[in-house]
Symmetry: C2
Subunit: 512 residues, 2 copies
Amino acid sequence: MPVNAVGREVPSEINGVRFKPFAGDMKTPPEGRRAGSLIRMTPRGRNKVVKSLKEVIKNVGLEDGMTVSFHHHLRNGDFVVNMVMKTIEKMGFKNIRLAPTALFPIHEPLVPMLKNGTIRRIEGSMNGPLGKATSEGYMKETAILRSHSGRVRAIESGEIHVDVAFIAAPTADAYGNLNGVDGPSACGPLAYAMVDAYHADHTVAITDNLVPYPAHPISIFQHQIDYVVPVDKIGDPAGIMSGTLRITTSPTRLKIARYAVKVIEKVALKPGFSFQAGAGGVSLAVTKFLGDIMRKRGIKASFINGGVTKYVVDMLHEGLVDVVFDGQAFDLDAVRSLKEDPNHIETPLAMYGNPYSSGGVVNMLDVGVLGATEVDIDFNVNVNTHSDGYLLHGIGGHQEVAAGAALTIITVPLYRYRVPVIRERVTTVTTPGEVVDVIVTERGIAVNPKRDDILEALKGTDIPVWDIEDLMKKAYSICGRPEEPKTTDEIIAAILWRDGTLIDVVYKVKNH
Amino acid sequence: MPVNAVGREVPSEINGVRFKPFAGDMKTPPEGRRAGSLIRMTPRGRNKVVKSLKEVIKNVGLEDGMTVSFHHHLRNGDFVVNMVMKTIEKMGFKNIRLAPTALFPIHEPLVPMLKNGTIRRIEGSMNGPLGKATSEGYMKETAILRSHSGRVRAIESGEIHVDVAFIAAPTADAYGNLNGVDGPSACGPLAYAMVDAYHADHTVAITDNLVPYPAHPISIFQHQIDYVVPVDKIGDPAGIMSGTLRITTSPTRLKIARYAVKVIEKVALKPGFSFQAGAGGVSLAVTKFLGDIMRKRGIKASFINGGVTKYVVDMLHEGLVDVVFDGQAFDLDAVRSLKEDPNHIETPLAMYGNPYSSGGVVNMLDVGVLGATEVDIDFNVNVNTHSDGYLLHGIGGHQEVAAGAALTIITVPLYRYRVPVIRERVTTVTTPGEVVDVIVTERGIAVNPKRDDILEALKGTDIPVWDIEDLMKKAYSICGRPEEPKTTDEIIAAILWRDGTLIDVVYKVKNH
């Protein structure tokens, strides 16, 4: 197998499809044109409302082997993937390619469908049980994981041809105008589904809040939606608005957050700067502490890119930032703000960080703060697998934020449950060291050697700066040298870089 | 030549391209897939701002024979088409295919470019001088006219492949986020340009209001824009906000408006109804009188589709209508409302009335009120040529509104300047009688015989109802039988139905 630019052996073909090895960010130029979507004619008076999932699945002409897609704005509160896939299973379809943006623990009922042949493979993020089942070898073909924008690229290029997109819609009218900011299952933006709405051969909205025409605001427009299926409930609000939405109270993690903010302050903080941090406990703390410093120093940001939380929304409404770009809302404050504040802008995922476009939001980011399951001494980052080899997380926007941001900070504890996080070699490479600048731990930070400018800017601060190998040694001295994951040589998943090249593969675990 | 469904002889090939004859609305199903747009890779840090039009034209690699496009939101105040085309001419390019949404009298400087070979043909609406020059035979190839949504369909299908889209942007940031609601040349929506932004191989924004990143609101997003060129002025506000923006004071036209409103009241007025009327003097009067009746009777509309004027905006803000769909703003009240009111929604032209989509706004219209240069006894409507054969107007949204609205009303005087408007045969068929329901004149109305329901609803009103032939006879009795236009047998322009079939052709005028 060829060795790619991060030193990983990767096959040249997966599921019968050729993939190029990862060659470095922005090193593989695109070829040709986007895939053309199917042209449909819709005469006046055609009723788009269909009473049942079974009926709509008949209408769209689903066949064995076809590809169906879903978005994950309802996250761990989503009922739609399960209800559609159960209907598909019951109708007897086999070998379906499932192309969701992401799956969550709530989608565990799909595991038997891997085993009984309803689903032949999943191309999308798998958080939890489906990743575990895949790691244990229950998926017939090889899973393909892509970043948020990598998935947009793949659909646009035809690498994923979606036959039917099922779009959970917290609000819809009978002619297919959709939004996510109203209704009992409000989730905020519908940004993940926009590429599916444009490119899928057939588009089905599923809603529990059918409103009079025209539904508004409109996130996805009627001319892209073929059918509307009203159901009792598309989701559980408690699960939709999940995520760690409290600032960490762990002294270790607060220390990490304070170091990260200090780095930002010294290296990147200036009027009009921009940043992105996620919804994890450390990220929320970084957002809050950064806000405190901005307030104190009278510095206003131009934009925050999100994943959006209350902490971000508060900064917007306080006037600490001009614009919030929102691809995903994590709490009800974010949903409300998206609905009410014109400076809170829903961003199509095509705009977020697709390298094969005329330029994403991430290209304008000054600072990106990201997490990891593991980091290695080449600054490679793993967010997909745990150190035991299990595939338990998606890529999210990790790759594009790291590649885009002028200052990419990875916040990690030195170790977790006595397993080193900083290691010689990550179990899986999600994001290559070439786009990672600073690793921040509770013991201090390590700076990518190619970023002398950062080392220079940090001179005279009280942040302990270490060689990355020293951080590794500290971790190993506490936890011992980590064991290799016990895996077979069977590839169960491919990790694609955002440009569609193969950055790594994941192997089946042994003796589970 | 084959004869099409409205009895017109049309060629099967124009400019070396095959066209099907018009077969009736919704009678020609689409084939295949949309054209795929060119995939570009944009690394972080690439500067999109280019100092001159000459430089940007070099950058995009313009060649002889290529196609360039423009939108017409700046209407008769637009400076951009002329400045770009003059640069192209000066750089020595030849045989350019010009694919604007529409051209106006201000674009008369392009006439010499027809004659000197810079432009080989125009595919787009020509209001005034360029249409006149085309009628007189100065265009090398045959002009192609499409409706607003027909143009979207053509670009999507690849019938028009745009090499370079030049997009006038009243506001832009350096990374290509654009809007039309701010800046000295504010024009409202940028809806016409959205299909170009997605499909063109290269996209250039031209702005006189470069603002800090991120410009917002965003009508066209950065990931679709390759270059931004700042210039002194993109337009003249006086010309941008042109159009007949006063209600007619002519007693004849007021009478027409009152009859039209009476028809609407009897046939279509009900809570939640919807309508579209334009910006002409009669249309404004219809909008105003209809508002008066709605207010009096306590009836609220669900939406108005526009072309938006102050009269429409006032109804929105008074609560007489829930939503305004806006593809084009005609005055500053409309621009301001689009900026400030979330119920005033910018609609991509793909959503407006593209028959080859999953369903446009026009499919939901209860009432459409439209004008005409001529109407004939088969209810066919001409909006393109005058009775002397000159091609002086574009199609606009006439076809899709007529085809979509449940009640399509054409408001016309019986005659103009002693030339009958109601005639045996229109000079050019723009819109076929099959989608036209009522002709309203100052002498009374004629109802399409297939609409018995309308005749029934109008019983007992004081509106004079005539056979269409009687209206023609009245016109002929006053003006005399109209002369045939003096034309040669050379085809200078093709009029396409919104589905891309040939509904009619326009001939070169004689002895000009």
